[in-house]
């Protein structure tokens, strides 16, 4: 038996037949299945479990309510594990976060003397004055801030994201939540109950574990949950519009959209603020009772109970019955005001010290040894009564766990009888029940849950006998001001961030008189528990300082997420639609290496693993012989009807009026601000019939724009997206005609099919569209044909092409080929503000057209370009020069541009590229300096585009067939 493990306790969560071991801070510990890490460590007799964030003070368990930031641990692969939530994994090695040299010897504990030099708000005060010291403080702060170390190399732990739709979601499975769920069961509704704990029952399982009525209700209501989905270990972390509630579960993130939501989240026990209130051994009575009833662990052997509400008495009696020695109850009020509880305590043999407060807790070796008690109103120098103890159990009141309600802008009002903020106006479909609603007695909580269920049924239009709401409690549950000054300070309001009472006072004195400003200046409530134990006391202090009510002082805005959520849970599984062209099998057969392009998989290159430089060989095939590339990923849009020409003139910058049937032309689309959005080739196949291509990643947006423009201008035109109806293959190179002519039923000769012409013809008996394009700078035909025929044509071309030295080429070779021709890639050579006058595409803009998208902006920008995309070559001829896209052009101390495309041109035998440069550096022959990743500077020079065949002699070539 471990040091503090109790004999079996009725209803305990642990399974004593299943034992495991794990390591924490270098020592081995035993745990039972059902333990959390914290409970197993406490069971073994440990008290210090962590170090505080700023001063590295020893900390132990405080709330054990799923937000105990005192005890955050990590493993080699996972960070920020909440030790009061997670079960220990057998054989796992845990360590505390935020220590240097281990928990016991933590070097950071010596930092306490620095406290006077790190006043609240020091980030804003010291860091930047004098300015030369800023780098020092920056380094210090960066080292000290944050908890845990990210294990970059570890496998990623992604949870699936699942949408769920239900009729009613009940958050919290305590008395009120279970009562509501049981009342909603059996009516054909989909009802989900989500509770963040491992088991249902809420406080019935620890605060009322020995009350027969509570246990009978628990058993009955669970039995009545027929058809209700009960999710445990499921944290509702946010509440969004349309009643959408993300619930983090052990194996998924469920985004639940409900028609009605019942919030029965209960309350959060709050700390009292006194000197050394953070010593290991000081904890809430709830934490003590959870240790006893869930995990059968004694929180301490000799306890003092600090009472600010009736619950303290019940807890003291309960704990004593389970063998925890109670030295005394220190009541902040007159024990007589506790009614029958005072008598029960007396009957149980408990000593009560009334109208007194804990002035200080004193520790030795990082653990509590005694508390100093003074009568209320005692003079500062009074000699305290010293009570020896190893546990100080605090029950001074609650904050409603109302964060989810706040997120949907519920209104709250202070109920003086309860001593708590209570809902005073909830949005449609949202209901609150139980202690979060200010209802405390067991019968009332059950009635409140049932009443909420009746209201839900009314909202859903299901006939039901109404159930009235019970009255809220008339016994005050929270002490109004459990904050006690001490000359030596160290009276902590926020344990996560080590914020003390005097820090709040400093902030108030400095004028941060609003709860939001107070929070940001002090960082109170900005730690891992997000103010769950500190916002209320800070608001109380602020209200007291300014003579306001708690309602006037307010509480900081609650935002998602209610509890910490792992990024892996938010990221979801990386499941995206990846599109493939009909030529996948052909590419695979050629040893393709894939790359992502928009939503598509495209061949980057072929002959994976072959020796030599496959991209260079693909390139050479196109320049010297013939190559073919799958361009089926291009957007393909059919435009026809009476107003087809008008639509194209509206959508694109150039004037298409003079485009003859049977011809194509290159076009640029801008947005209303004149930014280049897309480019493509337009072919005219009939008087009122056009067919155009759009960029691989932009096809859907271009189609959408065309449809919107047609509707806006009320044009008589049809726009059809044929992107996936058509395959497309580009065959290019000097021997293209020789290869294609025998397969095609029209004359491909230059006279009959000139550069930029478009024809419909049959290839291998299949009807297809041919467009003579020049993207790669050689004679080339883009062939658009039905997908069913694409594979056979590709294979036929490869077979016949062997005689000509054919080679399929991928995107890498294509990009190099087009770079030599100076063709821009929209989105690579252009950015989010590039307009045509910053590029060599100004010729496409026809301001003579009275109306087109972007015209107003382009008219203005025409003579105001401040940058230019230009060509450059480097001084070096090293083919391995590591100059890459986005490397910067430097002039003196200034950045004057960046590389947008770069590659080694085999034809020119040097590195060539395109750069976006300030106009001052864009003139021909301007010397340039680029900075490589490693800091090396590389000389270059602005040259004219294109690099290759400036007269287009090759792509217009008459030779060939």
């Amino acid at each position: 038996m471990s040091a503090r493990r109790l004999p079996p306790v009725a209803g305990e969560w642990i399974d004593r037949s299943r034992e495991l071991t794990f390591s924490f801070e270098g020592a081995t510990y035993r745990a039972f299945e059902g333990d959390v890490i914290t409970s197993a460590l406490i069971a073994a007799g440990r008290t210090m479990l962590g170090r505080s964030f700023k001063y590295h003070r020893p900390r132990g368990v405080f709330s054990l309510a799923n937000h105990d930031a005192n005890v955050i641990v990590e493993t080699a692969s996972r960070i920020n594990i909440r030790a009061d939530v997670e079960a220990p994994v057998a054989g796992e090695i845990y360590s505390a976060v935020n220590t240097t040299g281990g928990l016991e010897r933590d070097f950071g504990r010596h930092l306490g003397w620095l406290a006077p030099f790190l006043p609240v708000g020091f980030y804003y005060k010291i860091g930047h004055k004098p300015r030369r010291l800023f780098p020092y403080f920056e380094k210090l702060i960066r080292h000290a801030s944050g908890l845990g170390r990210v294990a970059v190399g570890q496998p990623r732990d992604r949870l699936p994201f699942v949408r769920e739709y239900c009729d009613v979601l009940v958050v919290g499975a305590g008395a009120a939540g279970l009562a509501a769920a049981a009342a909603l069961a059996g009516r054909g509704l989909r009802v989900i109950v989500a509770d963040e704990n491992a088991r249902v029952g809420g406080s019935l399982g620890y605060a009322q574990a020995d009350e027969p009525a509570a246990q009978a209700f628990l058993a009955d209501s669970v039995a009545a949950l027929d058809g209700v989905e009960v999710w445990t270990g499921a944290t509702a972390v946010g509440l969004y519009g349309d009643l959408e509630c993300p619930v983090v579960r052990p194996d998924r993130l469920s985004a639940v959209t409900a028609r009605a939501i019942v919030i029965a989240t209960g309350v959060l026990e709050q700390p009292a603020v006194f000197h050394n209130n953070d010593l290991p051994g000081v904890m809430t009575t709830g934490a003590a009772q959870r240790l006893v009833h869930r995990y059968a662990v004694a929180p301490c052997s000799r306890a003092v109970v600090l009472a600010g509400n009736p619950e303290a008495y019940r807890a003291a009696i309960d704990l004593k019955q389970h063998g925890v020695g109670i030295e005394a109850i220190v009541d902040l009020e007159d024990p007589e005001s506790r009614g029958e509880l005072a008598g029960l305590a007396q009957a149980a043999g408990l000593r009560v010290v009334g109208r007194s407060f804990v002035h200080a807790a004193q520790g030795r070796d990082g653990r509590l040894v005694e508390v100093e008690v003074l009568p209320l109103g005692a003079s500062p120098g009074a000699t305290p009564q010293r009570l020896p103890c190893d546990g100080l159990l605090v029950s001074v009141g609650y904050a409603p766990a109302a964060q989810l309600l706040h997120q949907l802008r519920a209104r709250f009002a202070f109920d003086a009888a309860v001593g708590q903020m209570v809902p005073a106006g909830l949005p449609a479909g949202l209901y609150a029940a139980g202690r979060v609603n200010g209802v405390f007695e067991l019968d009332a909580r059950i009635a409140d849950g049932r009443a909420a269920a009746a209201e839900v049924l009314g909202t859903l239009g299901i006939p039901t006998a109404g159930a009235p709401r019970p009255p809220r409690t008339n016994v005050r549950q929270s002490h109004p001001q459990p904050l006690f000054e001490h000359p030596k300070r160290k009276n902590f309001v926020d344990f996560d961030e080590d914020i003390q009472l005097h820090d709040l006072r400093t902030a108030c004195r400095e004028g941060f008189d609003n709860v939001e400003l107070l929070k940001r200046f002090t960082t109170n409530g900005m730690g891992p528990s997000q103010g769950k134990h500190s916002h209320l006391n800070a608001s109380r202090f602020l209200a007291g300082y300014h003579g306001q009510t708690l309602e006037q002082a307010g509480t900081p805005t609650a935002r998602p997420f209610y509890q910490p959520v792992a990024l892996g849970a938010l990221a979801g599984r990386r499941r995206r639609l990846v599109l493939e062209t009909p030529l996948v099998a052909e590419h695979e057969a050629a040893g393709v290496q894939w790359m992502e392009a928009g939503s598509w998989n495209r061949p980057a290159r072929y002959r994976r693993g072959a020796p030599g430089d496959p991209v260079r060989e693909e390139y050479l095939a196109v320049r010297e012989r013939v190559g073919l590339i799958d361009v089926g990923t291009l957007g393909k849009i059919e435009v026809f009807g009476r107003d087809a020409l008008e639509l194209l003139n509206l959508a694109y910058t150039s004037d298409q009026t003079k485009l003859r049937v049977g011809m194509t032309r290159y076009m640029v689309m801008t947005d209303h601000k004149g930014t280049i959005a897309d480019d493509g080739v337009l072919g005219r196949f009939g008087e009122r019939h056009y067919y155009l291509t759009a960029g691989t990643g932009h096809a859907l947006a271009t189609y959408r724009s065309l449809k919107q423009l047609a509707a806006f201008a009320k044009l008589d035109v049809e726009v059809v997206d044929r992107t996936r109806h058509m395959a497309a293959i580009n065959v290019a190179g000097p021997r293209t005609r020789e290869l294609l002519q025998p397969l095609v039923d029209i004359d491909l000769g230059a006279a009959a099919f000139p550069f930029l012409a478009a024809r419909e013809a049959k290839i291998g008996g299949v009807p297809a569209r041919f467009m003579r394009v020049g993207f790669v700078g050689e004679v080339g035909f883009e062939i658009h044909l039905p997908p069913s025929a694409a594979g056979a044509l590709w294979r036929e071309l490869l077979t016949r092409g062997q005689a000509f030295g054919i080679c399929p080429f991928g995107v890498e070779a294509q990009r190099l080929l087009r770079l030599e021709k100076g063709h821009l890639i929209v989105g690579q050579d252009t950015d989010g503000v590039t307009h045509p006058y910053e590029t060599n595409l100004a010729w496409t803009v026809s301001l003579a057209k009275p109306r087109f998208v972007g015209r107003a902006a382009l008219e203005y920008l025409k003579d105001r370009a401040t940058r230019m995309t230009v060509g450059f070559t480097t001084e070096h001829r090293d083919p391995r020069l590591p100059l890459e896209e986005s490397h910067l052009a430097i002039a003196g101390r200034d950045i004057v541009g960046r590389v947008t495309s770069v590659g080694f041109s085999p034809t020119l035998d040097r590195t060539v590229g395109i750069a976006m440069l300030d106009k001052t550096h864009a003139a021909l022959d301007t010397p340039l300096t680029f900075r490589l990743t490693n800091g090396t500077l590389v000389g270059a020079r602005v040259v004219a585009l294109p690099f290759y065949d400036p007269d287009n002699a090759r792509q217009k070539a008459e030779g060939g067939a």
Partner: protein, 84 residues
């Protein structure tokens, strides 16, 4: 709004729609200077606005009257030229 109860195509997740706003309206402006002002200094106040919404799965354009302060849709029409 997470679900848009469209009178024409029924209840659909809002994520299926692209709200393109009313920017296309500048095309109707004949004075380029006025068009640029409308484009760059658009009215950001919360009020009833006319917006173009594109429904991706059905590829339909809608013109929506929406009270942006309360995120309430007041009127829905298919954009001209669209057919159900």
């Amino acid at each position: 709004m997470k679900i848009f109860d469209c009178p024409i195509i029924g209840r659909r997740p809002i994520g299926e729609f692209i709200n393109a706003g009313g920017g296309i309206g500048v095309l109707a402006e004949d004075d380029p200077a006025k068009a640029r002002r409308a484009m760059l200094f658009g009215d950001g106040t919360a009020r009833t606005k006319r917006e173009w919404w594109y429904h991706r799965p059905s590829q339909l354009w809608f013109v929506i009257e929406r009270e942006t302060a309360s995120d309430t849709v007041l009127g829905v029409t298919l954009a001209s030229g669209e057919t159900r």
